[in-house]
């Protein structure tokens, strides 16, 4: 609603300026100017500057409401000091550029490809290469940052990189369909409430998404993969994370989704897979986890005792090496809501009455995970046969009453696990190989001779047994 209001304001502003709006042409034959800066100086609010293909070595300040449209992907190569484009007037649009050569933050500035310090601007369809920050929005509201490709200084340590899109004291901005890699944080909301990040793809960064002191953020349908932490949400309330794919965030500190001191948030229908740890809940309370899939993580969820009264319902925990590690006591997590728990691929119970809910409750913390919670070093015994024995013994002896339990475990996936892309070639190869082995093993003596002959070429050829 607010965004629409902003749009109307911008449209009205443009319409007001429409009377004497004109288009300026930069670069190439018959252009008004060979460089962009003089065109900006000549233009007035509401004008459009069309920039043709080519390389432009200049830094720009947009101090009036104009549209800067690249045609044929002109490259804007900054001076290497400060930001390449700084927008101070509201209602500007920058599109179609390849932007390089931002400062590297030596002067402790937020050197960026595009720095926005006003409201209602659109930064769309640009490529930003080897930049410190991609887009910085500082004290800026209701801007749209969409369809940009941002590549950071991936050869530098995280601490020396900037962020892909950094929103500082910038509420109600819209960040969509950007592809970001090699930055420190892909998208960083700091004191930026009511922001929306939708359909972005972030990889190879420190955090895919970083959210601090930014309440009511909406994070939907993004992909955060191959970073240290997929999404790190801290000190924020009422955040909505929906339909995101958070995968392969590995390494020793690797985590898919971290909630630290975050309350009353909704985490729904996300795919969290292949991470060292899928979810880390620290000091975060009254959050709802609904319909998420935790698949093939080393540990699906780690909960600190400071995380209270969170609700998990309708989630799927599939093929994780460990489902749950509790550090300290479980502090009132609800593992089911309204008689509906979660699907656990480890569940060993039955559903005789066929209502889709397992007849016996599912103990969530295995014997090994319990040990790991008490002493992290015990993980060095991961996959030991004795750990499986311990699990069996614990199951036979019954679980302590105060254990974390899913009282209403679901016995069916709520959606098909994976598209049926099984490749018959693998099965055929397996059967064929088994057949060949079977044939070879029918003649052990000949096989032994062959093996010895190839291994010990100098040895006597004949079978020593026959001597």
């Amino acid at each position: 609603m607010k965004r629409r209001t902003a749009l109307i304001v911008v449209v009205l502003a443009l319409a007001a300026a429409r009377a004497d709006a004109r288009t300026w042409l930069v670069g190439g034959d018959g252009a008004d100017f060979p460089l962009i800066a003089p065109a900006i100086a000549a233009a007035s609010a509401g004008d459009i500057i069309r920039v043709r293909g080519g390389v432009y070595r200049e830094d720009l300040v947009l101090d009036k409401s104009i549209t800067l449209a690249g045609e044929g992907h002109p490259t804007l190569f900054g001076t290497g000091l400060g930001s390449v484009i700084t927008i101070t007037a509201p209602g500007c649009e920058v599109s179609g550029f390849t932007i390089e050569g931002s400062g590297l933050g030596e002067t402790n500035e937020m050197d960026a490809a595009v720095q926005v310090r006003s409201n209602g601007n659109r930064i769309v369809d640009n490529t930003m290469r080897r930049v410190f920050y991609g887009v910085v929005l500082a004290d800026a509201m209701r801007n749209e940052i969409a369809d940009n490709e941002i590549q950071g200084l991936r050869d530098l340590a995280f601490g020396r990189r900037g962020d892909g899109i950094y929103l500082y004291r910038a509420p109600e901005n819209f960040v969509a369909r950007n592809r970001i890699s090699g930055e420190r944080d892909g998208i960083y909301f700091q004191y930026a409430p009511r922001g929306r990040a939708v359909d972005n793809v972030v990889s190879d960064s420190r955090y895919g998404l970083h959210d601090m002191f930014s309440d009511d953020a909406v994070i939907a349908r993004n992909t955060f993969s191959d970073s240290v932490v997929g999404a790190n949400i801290m000190n924020s309330r009422r955040v909505r994370l929906e339909g995101n794919t958070i995968s392969r965030n590995r390494g020793v500190p690797g985590i898919g989704l971290t909630l630290k001191d975050c309350d009353e948030s909704t985490i729904r229908n996300n795919q969290i897979s292949g991470n060292a740890r899928g979810l880390l809940l620290d000091g975060s309370s009254v959050n709802r986890f609904i319909g998420n899939t935790f698949r093939a993580n080393d540990t699906a969820a780690t909960l600190f005792s400071s995380a209270e009264q969170n609700v998990f319902s309708g989630n799927q925990f599939v093929d994780n090496w460990s489902d749950l590690v509790l550090s300290g006591r479980d502090s009132g997590t609800h593992w089911s809501a309204d008689g509906r728990g979660n699907y656990w691929s480890r569940y060993r119970g039955f559903d005789f009455d066929g209502d889709g809910i397992g007849d016996a409750p599912h103990p969530l913390v295995g014997a090994f995970e319990r040990l790991e919670g008490a002493n992290p070093v015990a993980r060095i015994f991961l996959q030991s046969p004795a750990a499986a024995g311990l699990e069996l013994a614990a199951r036979l002896s019954g679980h302590p009453a105060d254990d974390a339990m899913d009282d209403h475990p679901l016995v069916r996936h709520s959606q098909p696990a994976a598209p049926g892309s099984s490749r018959p070639s693998a099965g055929i190869a397996g059967v064929a190989a088994l057949f060949i082995i079977g044939r070879a093993l029918r003649h052990p003596k000949r096989l032994a001779e062959k093996i010895t002959a190839s291994l010990f070429p100098g040895s006597p050829r004949n079978d020593p047994c026959s001597r």
Binding site: I380, S425, A426, G427, P460
Partner: protein, 275 residues
Amino acid sequence: MMTHLWTIAQLELTAAVRLRWIRLLTVAFALLAAAAAYSAGAANEVSGAEGFARTTMALVPVVLVLVPLAALILGVSGQASEPGSEPFLFGQPVSRATVLVGRWLGESVALGSAIVTGLGIGGAIVAFGSGADGVPRFVCFVLASVVLATIFLSIAAAIASATDKRVVALGVATFAWFFFVLLYDGAALSLAGWLTGSLGGRILFGSVFGNPADLIRVVALSVAGAPNVLGAAGDAWVRFLGGATSAAVVSMVALAVWMIAPLLVGVRLISTRDL
């Protein structure tokens, strides 16, 4: 001397390959590896590297149970062979050490081939299903399994040399399997709850060296499992051993000691034994 060693190795290899259960073991490894590959989803839905890592992770406990058992039985039954054949063989002009080491060599080749073939089929299935990305790491895992076999064959040689009767040797071997595969880790895990802090951590890390099966498990998981699957504990383990290179060297040396020391004990025992 070397010719004698090869001859005895060949003799032992032929005998071992003729054992029906060794052949069945090969098939069992292949089936288990195939099952692990499919259950890990490696046959279709994940990338090659991830598929191999998950297959390895699923196979580690299986290998840790089966390989030592097979090695101990094969080793003991080979080294302490049928009554009657012993005086005949030791009556030949070969040293007792040559007989023992030669037999160990032959058994290692036999069991090693069974493991490589069986697990290799599993690897082939993963490679066909999800790409050859990650093959080198899987090869490391197969090699680690073969090393595990040679270590327990060596332990079997020591057991066989220390006992007079085949039945006793088999009994001791069974206990050794139970001890190394279940009892040792069970004890360590039971104590892990109390062994917190830096001293406790060091005791737990040190305990890994006391059991070759543990050492192989940690090496296999670190090299061929999902990246950093041991997490902070794996990190601490590497630091405990003084860095990545040092950890690799120390682990290799420890494995070599576990392979050679029981063999030397066996040679010493059998050389002085009254047959």
